[in-house]
């Protein structure tokens, strides 16, 4: 109990175009983000994913929903290699 908010959120998209499009929209809205190789643990394969920090999750959701780019899945980094899938 008393766990602090996990710091990192990984967004997985359907394809590379969608990752690029999400990146463009997040950057334009000033949401700090990084392109990362898809973590091994997470099943997907377009090669790229987007990492944001937890406090930016709501803003990211708003920006991406408005642009109609819905992630295929969203994962919270619990510790080292452990992820928990959460709703977008």
């Amino acid at each position: 109990m008393g766990r602090t908010a996990p710091p990192e959120v990984v967004l997985i998209f359907r394809g590379t175009h969608q990752v690029m499009s999400a990146e463009k929209n997040l950057k334009r809205a000033g949401v700090p983000m990084r392109l990362i190789p898809v973590p091994r643990r997470l099943t997907s394969d377009c090669g790229l994913a987007i990492r944001i920090s937890h406090p930016d999750r709501d803003l990211a959701r708003k920006v991406l929903s408005r642009a109609r780019i819905i992630p295929r899945s969203v994962h919270i980094l619990l510790d080292q290699e452990e992820y928990e899938e959460v709703p977008f």
Binding site: R14, T16, H17, V19, M20, S21, L35, D45
Partner: protein, 364 residues
């Protein structure tokens, strides 16, 4: 543009197949070019632009991806072989095709197209502007007729993309095909097919997309649905650069410049007695293409002399569109074709006219 292609060749990562820097760079080149296409053609969603190797591939994908046995298709007598041949192939697969004849200037009457549409018509395939006569077709009225009948409209913009303004928000055709290497000023080996959202196109080619690799089914989302295999990211990087140039310059400005040159050409050629000019008289109804003949002279000979004696490069013959020449009465010899571009100067037009006067005079 050439420098960008050379630089891209030097690093060529496979886009979307990996997370390393070169792959990201290629993925970004594709994305940027797609976004620029969407901006240039007034489309909201760039993912609907699928890259192809040329216009021919895009047209084949559209035609063979839409038509099924029992369907009816409508087209015109001024289509390029890259439309006619796939349609003839589909006839063998149980599709019926109606070819609407164009007028002697190469323009089709939208009413005649509308009249050819039946209950089973699934596709209307029309060239936006003929590559032989330059005639710009009444796309808006044809789209209206197709919509009313529930048929899809495929527009072949090979001769207009990048040189005649075309906005998909204003003219929401279902399918739009174009090469990258003509009016879009990109390198050879590039082209695109735009597919409006909701238009059900079956992929012509299936395979690796870098997405959904755990599944042995082709993804159904764009652009991956219609883009399998390693793309020509090197060429598309170059196309991205020429698209940026066109966006800065504006297609309206390109069109105005080409129209001025067209008017000078048509007027100048009209004053040479034994030269026949084909296509619409009204320059606003003509893309940047003029077909002509020197009376009693083989078009191939005119082309050869223009190049050999005057250094002017033209194309003579049938221009891969035999039906267009049957329509305007120039089959089987064809015509000579001049096409001024955004970098053509008034001086070059004057030089061409002087050369043509000399060649024509040698015939009198």
């Amino acid at each position: 543009m050439a420098e960008t292609v050379a630089r891209a060749l030097g690093r060529a990562g496979n886009p979307g197949r990996s997370g390393h820097a070169l792959s990201i760079r290629s993925a970004r080149d594709l994305f940027v070019a797609r976004e620029r296409l969407a901006e240039l053609f007034g489309a909201r969603d760039s993912s609907r632009f699928v890259f192809t190797g040329n216009a021919t591939e895009a047209l084949n994908q559209a035609i063979k991806g839409i038509l099924r046995p029992g369907d009816h298709a409508v087209t015109t007598s001024v289509e390029h072989n890259s439309v006619m041949r796939p349609l003839r192939r589909m006839e063998e697969a149980g599709v019926t095709v109606t070819v609407v004849p164009a007028g002697p200037d190469g323009a089709v009457d939208a009413k005649a197209v509308a009249a050819a549409i039946r209950r089973r018509t699934r596709l209307v395939a029309v060239v936006h502007a003929s590559n032989v006569t330059g005639a710009i077709q009444p796309a808006r009225q044809i789209l209206r007729a197709a919509r009313k009948a529930g048929a899809y409209l495929l527009l072949d913009a090979a001769q207009t993309a990048g040189s005649v303004p075309l906005s998909l928000s204003d003219l929401p055709v279902d399918l739009l095909a174009a090469p990258g290497h003509k009016g879009l000023l990109g390198p050879q080996g590039t082209g695109f097919l735009y597919v409006r959202e909701g238009v059900p196109v079956v992929p012509l080619i299936e395979g690796g997309t870098g997405s959904r690799s755990e599944s042995d089914r082709q993804p159904d989302f764009f652009p991956d649905a219609l883009e399998s295999g390693t793309p020509n990211s090197v060429g598309i990087a170059g196309l991205g650069v020429s698209l940026a140039w066109l966006l800065r310059k504006g297609i309206g400005a390109v069109r105005r410049k080409e129209r001025e040159l067209l008017e000078e050409l048509v007027e100048g050629m009209g004053r040479i007695g034994n030269v026949t000019v084909y296509g619409p008289r009204d320059p606003s109804r003509r893309a940047s293409v003029i077909s002509f003949l020197v009376d009693g002279m083989d078009p191939a000979e005119v082309g050869r002399r223009l190049e050999k004696e005057f250094g002017v490069l033209v194309r003579s013959g049938l221009h891969c569109s035999p039906d267009s020449h049957r329509t305007i009465g120039t089959f089987p010899e064809g015509t000579v074709r001049v096409s001024p571009g955004p970098f053509t100067t008034g001086k070059e037009i004057a030089r061409f006219l002087a050369a043509l006067r000399k060649i024509a005079a040698s015939r009198r």
